[in-house]
Amino acid sequence: MNRQARLQAAGDVLPLMGNEAIARGAWEAGVKVAAAYPGTPSTEILESLARYPATDLYAEWSTNEKVALDVAIGAALSGVRAIACMKHVGLNVASDSLMSQSYIGAHAGLVLVVCDDPGIHSSQNEQDTRLFARFAGVPVLEPSDAQEACDFTRLAFELSEAFDTPVIVRSTTRLSHTRSVVRVGERVVPPSKGFVDAPGKTVTIPANARRLHPKLIAREAKLAAWFETSPLTRWEKGDRRFGVVTGSTAYLYVKEVAPRASILKLGAAYPLPEETIRAFAASVDRLLVVEELEPVLETAIRAMGLPAEGKAFFPRLGELSPELVRAGLAAAGLMEAAPAAIPLGIEPMARPPVLCAGCPHTGAYLALRGIEARVAGDIGCYTLAAVEPLRSIDTTVCMGASIGNAVGMAATGEKKPVVATIGDSTFLHSGIPPLIDAVYNQANITVVILDNAITAMTGGQDHPGTGRTLRGEPAPKVDYEAICRAVGVDWVRRVDPYDVGHMYQTLREAIVHKGVSVVISERPCVLDPVKIKGAPLAVAQEGCVACQSCMNLGCPALTWADGLYDGRHKVKIDAAACIGCTLCAQVCPSDCIQPMALA
């Protein structure tokens, strides 16, 4: 199917998705070690890297982003080029390592790819990684299309070595998931530098850290000077009435809307080439900054004493678009507004994402809703159970937060039973320390581990519980029950969420258990690693009384039939979508949902 993703010879022109281009750039730079935890929109980078031969590079799914960065750091300090990839919120997890590694430097090239999600397509926030780069004192490159994604990633390794610093390459959903042509190059593997062997630099005891910090500050100035003359900083001379400082995909929108404008395209959002910016500002009548999310460039440029205008005209929230850039330039009085669209009077229909037909989470949350608990949720597909009809999650904060949140809720004397629900991959990512906390502090909570044997939300990636590595090789498999028992949980049950009655009964027992109880809900995801399709069920129309109890599952295979009972719609099952999980048959009070042959 995906023929163009196959490896191609150098000099070819290939249509590549931004993430594939980043992987290509890293491969061309001779990267030897790559690590990541999956997270939209960054996931495809490591998947693409893992398509290159194992003899070229080592690639792993790490248990979380911090581990991924630590793996990359270890490799770089050992003398080979290394990369860690993550989504924006993954950098929060990895930030402890980044903040120290910024002091240490790099030795061999060390690159972090961080993919932001402006517009919150598939995340819990839209934080701006450029602020993190400034905070950590590491340069951040911002490619705007797939060609630059490839080129900038390759360059990031050079910069990392030349300036002895980790380098962040920042992508966004729009770049990561846009395909455009890339002229690819050769892979050049620099010889290993050997282990760094400089404990004064690589051991961050206070005495060393105090010596390293001024080097970081000097490095910032050197990098800023380098960006003054680097081709990454591109002055496109045009109309002098106004000039736009921009970068990332925002540059593309400016080019689309105002092709004749004077543009200063910054390939790096930090540190900034101040002299060039001053010269650019002096060459135009008005200075505008067009950037997605936070006013990072604008604030820095204003701090230079220049009258930059930006967020007064362009939104600080969400994704930019040609429409918004045009509207902003129009609001600034610099171009004509787009003609107002004539509304066609069509009300768009709501189509929120739903759990798949046969999703094992459905059975778990249906039972959970029945026990009326206070439920701390976590990050994964199952967050969809926070809305009707399953509506059984009270909180979702971030990866691994559920168990700690539950400990806190229980500590307040909450009257309802307190339950934390967490997926298998999330549990391994950051759920184990809070479980130990709960046991240690004797919290009265129930933890439901939703083990669907895959990282489902991001498209089905392996993890330590699946028994397979990123490259599909067999691997040791985590035993969740053994982990729970080892940390001191004495009440652990394993349940099949397709058996709603058993699930419900087990939860009832779990919540009356004093102390930490763990219910492991075990059923594989219906999509990954293999698509599961069993014999579909059907609704015997003559028996259906249109109570629509089954619709409480929110299953996409269930819909209204044409027939009515007492004026209300009977239900039918889409045989193509139904996988035969039988959840609907279990909740049907009139017993009219049967295997297709019987119905």
Partner: protein
């Protein structure tokens, strides 16, 4: 600093013809991506710059999927501005309606499968006579709102060829008549993109879509699926009131009605007697009445016919 003025590009900017914009929309799993890739490859075979952008974070979760494909001598933005799509291919009826305002007024080409994928969300109300919360516009109404429109039962055409999932390729065939690329190029692209086992059917589906479009182009009366009205009928919701009588003396607080009420509108009070906690949520489905082992619940529904009131 590379400060050379981009004069050549500047001069060219005026001469460059605008990029061609195609939006492909649908629901997760329908093949939006395959169509987008085919379009991108067609653009490339014509020696054009191509950008193809999609959002697929929640795609597998039955949510909305859309993809922007732009090709031209020079393409900057990866996304298409509202009102600037030259063509819109919708693999599902309501998704076509959702994005219809992205088409260029007057000239945009609207191509949609009239098959409906009804989300669970649209069947949420259990009330007597409740309408499905699905888009109401018919193909005839939708085509009146666009420059050039084709609303066909592409799923039926694909099913006739033996593979309902090839509906996306049928729609690609329909689009092909409003683009310059020769048929041979389209077939070559499909040949390269489709897996071995469904390749023949996809090529047939493309030809069937193209043939349908050629006929419809010459005869506007063929441009919309006439079977739609027969498959999809709407009724007005009558006004119904519901009352619940619970005989407290007979209720023993077994909790069966509370647990099995589909609207979850019953509860036990302090005396362990069932009561209607949320009267406005009760739909009068009678599940509690039928399942009460003590015959303690009676449901009364009254239909107020608007025509006679």
């Amino acid at each position: 600093m590379s400060a050379e003025p981009q004069t050549a590009m500047e001069a060219a900017a005026g001469a460059v013809s605008p990029a061609r914009n195609v939006m492909v929309v649908g629901v997760g799993g329908q093949g939006v991506l395959m169509i987008s890739k085919a379009l991108a490859l067609i653009g490339q075979t014509q020696g054009l710059q191509v950008k193809q952008s999609e959002v697929h974070g929640m795609a597998k979760r039955g949510g909305v999927v859309f993809s922007h494909v732009r090709f031209g001598e020079e393409v900057w933005s990866p996304t298409i501005a509202k009102g600037e799509a030259d063509a819109l291919i919708a693999l599902e009826w309501a998704e076509g309606l959702r994005w219809i305002e992205h088409l260029r007024p007057e000239t945009g080409v609207f191509i949609a499968d009239t098959r409906r994928i009804v989300p669970p969300f649209a069947c949420r109300s259990r009330r007597h006579g409740a309408p499905m919360a699905y888009a109401r516009e018919t193909p005839a109404e939708a085509l009146e709102k666009v420059g050039e429109g084709y609303a066909l039962d592409a799923t039926a055409i694909a099913t006739g060829l033996g593979e309902p999932r090839a509906a996306n390729t049928v729609l690609l065939g329909v689009l092909s008549i409003s683009m310059d690329a020769p048929v041979a190029d389209w077939l070559a692209v499909l040949d390269a993109l489709t897996p071995q086992k469904s390749r023949a059917i996809n090529l047939e589906a493309f030809k069937a879509g193209r043939a349908w479009a050629e006929a419809a182009r010459d005869d506007p009366s063929l441009r919309f699926d006439a079977g739609f009205a027969e498959r999809v009928a709407y009724a007005d919701a009558p006004d119904v009131s519901v009352a619940l009588d619970i005989n407290a003396a007979w209720c023993k607080g077994c909790d069966i009605c509370v647990k099995l009420c589909p609207e979850r509108c019953l509860a036990l009070d302090a005396q362990q007697v069932a009561y209607l906690k949320e009267p406005q949520a009760c739909t009068g489905c009678r599940v509690c009445e039928w399942l009460c082992p003590d015959f303690a619940i009676a449901v009364r529904t009254t239909v107020h016919d608007a025509r006679t009131a």
